[in-house]
Amino acid sequence: MITNISCKRLLWMILAVFGSFQFAISQNSNDAKEVTTTYYVKNAFVVQKPGIVLSNTSILIKDGMIKSVGPNIPIPFDAEVIDADSMYVYAGFIDACSHAGVAKKENKDRPKVDNPGNPPKDLAGITPQYTVRAAISDKLDKSMGELRELGFGFVHVVPRGRMLPGQGSVLSTGDLNPSASIIKENVSEFAQFKSARGMFPATTIGVMSQFRDLIKNATYSNNYKAAYGLNPTGLERPKHSEELAALYPVVEKKMPVFFYTPKVKDVNRALILQNELGYNMVLTGVLQGWPLMSSITASGNAVVLSLNLPEEIKDEKDDVDNEEDDKKGDKKSDENEGEKNEDESDVEKVEGDKKDEKKEKPKKKKKPEKEDDPETKMLKERKMKSHDEYVSQAAMFEKQRVNFSFSTLDTKTKDIRNNLLRMVKGGLSENGALAALTTNPASLLGISAIAGTVEQGKIANIFITDKPYFEEKSKIKYLIIDGKVTFNKEEKKKKKKGDGETVELAGTWSYEVEIPGESQSGTMVIEGSGDNLTVSTDSSAEPGDFMDGSNINLDGSTLSFDISIDGMTYSISVDFDGESFEGTVAVGEFGTFPMTGTKKPE
């Protein structure tokens, strides 16, 4: 590889090490007409519902539905056969509450109102009449696609906003336009303790008060309307209010309030309001609910736990472990662990003369140079304990026999799977986790007839993994949404030039960097397999000059790395999405420039 290149030109030299790459969204499923709408999943382990695994079972999919599930189904002549021998089939997950597909509102300046004590309802965040249909973007955006790639087949999407943003609907994650994706509309009223900015309600206590006012007035107004409907003679014509009318189904207990209650105080406040006002409620996005476990179970409310978790504090935990174990004199396991760690880091060093410093740093941390003072040590232990409580919350709810679901609100997509695995490690049963992602949310959202299990007659939103889902290295091989294969990892593999099994992105890519006034382009070649992929790039200025990079880091679908040329560092961060990627290149003091790329046909 050539390293001596003039820095006067901006040359984009990219070298990367890829981990195995799971994201590959077919963007074109709408464009090409399907050859067939009949699929036959052959000889798989079918996880029909939590706890029920059917071996050597096949699934026939037709017209977007699961036609049959069983051991000896005949293969129709027009079926595309998916050989799923030794693979596992799961019902598409159901996200019980999410903002996926709903564009974030821009953080505009605080709106000016004449009377902050009585502002217009929409500015105050009181828009219960809004529907999510109007809020979701024309074409389902990336966040929905990302959830789909994780195995989610259905998402209960609620609008963004403040205290009462509007009503939520259940969408299929198929790559259709939003209107066609809605499978059940206006199933919920979304609520949160989010105050307005600089106007009433500007505080939590204002929100609480306003909520009471609204529900009370909706009740009076609803009753009066009913009385007027029976006999209007001599009665003043009812005044119409969009906001109150939208709350009629809530006060009639026909529509539940999905109250966003991440922390223990939110839970308490939501329970207080519900006790006073009496409506159906779902505690939603619960991140820290265990301290009020008895109140929650006594309330009988449905619970949607957050899939978010505090950042993992693994390293510090190991430290604490070691210290604790030392005290106990139980050194054997500890030593083994230590050896293993060192072995691993050795391996990395051998492999990684090209590898970054970044990855080595955390290893160094593991052996603190000096012991923590008692105060720091105590604080670390408390943090660790708290961390463990968050992680084992789901297990605690399971133990209390609460039927809970999961929500991705506030959860980074790339953390979802790992957080699930952490919760399982924290004591949640695999079946419990599966139920919280399938059957429980299906019944919560009233879609059990069409979703939640791999059974005849349900919408064909399923995914197929190479290993049982909760095994660490399990990967999704096929994704069938709305009866169509939207992701086929096996096929992608065949396209590669006989690389190792785990190669996903190997190939030749073209890239472009937009610099004001000009545009740089070049070629990027990805080679290798598994954790040992390499990428080299040249530029149109000097074709054929390939360069290596450093500080390579793959986080979900985002790859970041640096290349240094003549003392100048180019920091590249790109996000892969199927056959394309986009991101940025930061060039020292020159600024940051957009970078896009597409895969070249082989």
């Binding site: 500007a202 008060s209 306003q210 006012d213 408390r382 961390h387 084992s392």
Partner: protein, 458 residues
């Protein structure tokens, strides 16, 4: 895995230790400052299931009852603070001159370590108040310092009378008049806000009476703001009014007289000494600082003799903290009335026990060591009015909530696993900011902070 199971077990235990639990405890051989029945040397106090059962010599209790030896120590009723903002997440809903619809009890924060610090000063009850941004602020909550709970409901003192915050003078004028150019821009305007609000509430009440008696058929618009004001007119809520100047004290009493409202306690009341007989005649309480003033223009004409003058004129007087720091040594603050005003020991102690309890409408339940009252006790190493006194133990409903011999370094309840240690130390050591005007600047004037407004914000 083992660790997870362990922490699971720990949590299961934690669930069970909630609710408004009560305990039994026998305090032996202390000098008991009963407040209402003199000082009793070498006397025992037996608390059973949260209530004081016996006061006397050589008391015994069953084996399950914890026994505390208070020999050489002083046993007094738990201190009551009639003006505080601890355990609150939000203090001011400053968007309107009248916000009687809000209730700070909706924003309780039982994880506030300030509660524990108050306990460490012998304080067992505080009055969690709305701030003073509005002429008519929100309803307040009387809380018992049952620190250690996650559930805000555990803090509430059940069946304590409802109270509400009013405010006179510069604060509402600054926020609404200067801040937004609406009424009140003057002290006259503040009076008008009260009169308008009460008059509207009278009409509101009538409109609902007419509807409920079927005189009218269309339900009026329901308004919590008006509902609360009606309850004030009906005598169900005690007004606690932020105030300084004598003319304004008289003004509010006149307004309330016109509307037939009599339950009133003034807060701060720095010029109360000028109109003490008038306060006594109205039956208004006065909750004051011992010696704190000159933090804004209307608070210059003040004296440390204020409390003593009010007491001698028959006004039910208390000394409050309005601060997460002062609340830790209210017994010192009470002692200052002996230096300035020569109050007796018992008069001084009444300022932080039975008197504030009376002002909060809970004088029949707490504030003195009497049979049948709540088992709220503070034990001191020396007489609590001595500068050498150190709080030893604080008991709420018969349960030890602070014990100097078992005082862990980190008493926080809610630990953020993502918090950086530097932040932890900063938070732990942070001085409590004055909170009477909390939320006002951040909510209303983007870019301005309370710090940029020099001076005290009471």
């Amino acid at each position: 895995m083992k660790k997870y199971i362990l922490s699971l077990c720990a949590m299961m235990i934690a669930f069970t230790v909630t609710a408004q639990e009560t305990g039994s405890i026998l305090i032996k051989n202390g000098t008991v400052l009963t407040i209402t029945d003199g000082v009793k040397e070498n006397t025992d106090v037996l608390i059973k299931n949260g209530k004081i059962e016996k006061i006397g010599k050589d008391l015994t209790a069953d084996r399950s009852t914890q026994v505390v030896d208070a020999k050489g120590q002083f046993v007094m009723p738990g201190i009551v603070d009639a003006h505080s903002h601890i355990a609150l997440e939000t203090v001011n809903e400053a968007t309107n001159p009248v916000t009687s619809e809000v209730f700070v009890g909706d924003g309780l924060d039982p994880q506030d370590v300030g509660i524990y610090r108050a306990l460490a000063g012998g304080v067992t009850i505080s009055h969690a108040m709305h701030g003073s941004a509005n002429a008519i602020g929100g309803e307040c909550e009387t809380i018992k310092h049952r620190y250690g709970t996650w559930d805000p409901d555990d803090l509430r003192m059940k069946n304590a009378p409802r109270t509400i915050k009013f405010a006179l003078g510069e604060n509402p004028i600054r926020v609404h008049g200067e801040g937004r150019n609406i009424t009140p821009s003057t002290r006259m305007g503040v009076e008008q806000v009260f009169r308008s609000a009460f008059s509207e509430a009278q009409l509101y009440k009538k409109s609902w009476t007419d509807f409920n008696t079927k005189k009218t058929k269309t339900p009026p618009h329901y308004s919590r703001r008006m509902e609360t004001l009606v309850d004030i007119l009906d005598g169900e809520i005690i007004i606690h009014c932020h105030s300084y100047r004598a003319d304004e004290l008289l003004m509010l009493m006149n307004v309330l007289e016109d509307y037939g409202v009599s339950r009133l306690c003034f807060q701060h009341v720095n010029e109360g000494f000028k109109v003490a007989p008038e306060l006594a005649k109205f039956g208004a309480g006065a909750s004051v600082f011992s010696d704190w003033w000159a933090y804004k223009f209307e608070v210059y004409y003040s004296t440390a003799y204020n409390a003593a003058i009010l007491v001698r004129n028959g006004v039910v007087t208390s000394i409050n903290s309005d601060s997460g720091e002062l609340i830790r040594h209210l017994y010192h603050e009470a002692a200052k009335t002996q230096r300035y005003g020569d109050l007796t020991d018992n008069e001084a102690l009444r300022l932080i026990t039975i008197n504030p309890a009376t002002q909060l409408g809970i004088g029949d339940r707490v504030g003195s060591i009497e049979k049948g009252k709540d088992g709220d006790i503070a034990i001191f190493s020396a007489h609590p009015l001595s500068v050498y006194a150190i709080p030893q133990m604080t008991i709420v409903d018969g349960i030890v909530r602070f014990d100097i011999s078992n005082d862990a370094q980190d008493m926080r309840i809610d630990i953020d696993p993502e918090e950086k240690f530097d932040d932890t130390f900063i938070n732990l050591n942070a001085e409590d900011e004055e909170r009477c005007m909390q939320d006002v600047y951040s909510e209303l004037f983007l870019g301005e902070t309370s710090q940029s407004h020099a001076g005290h914000k009471h």
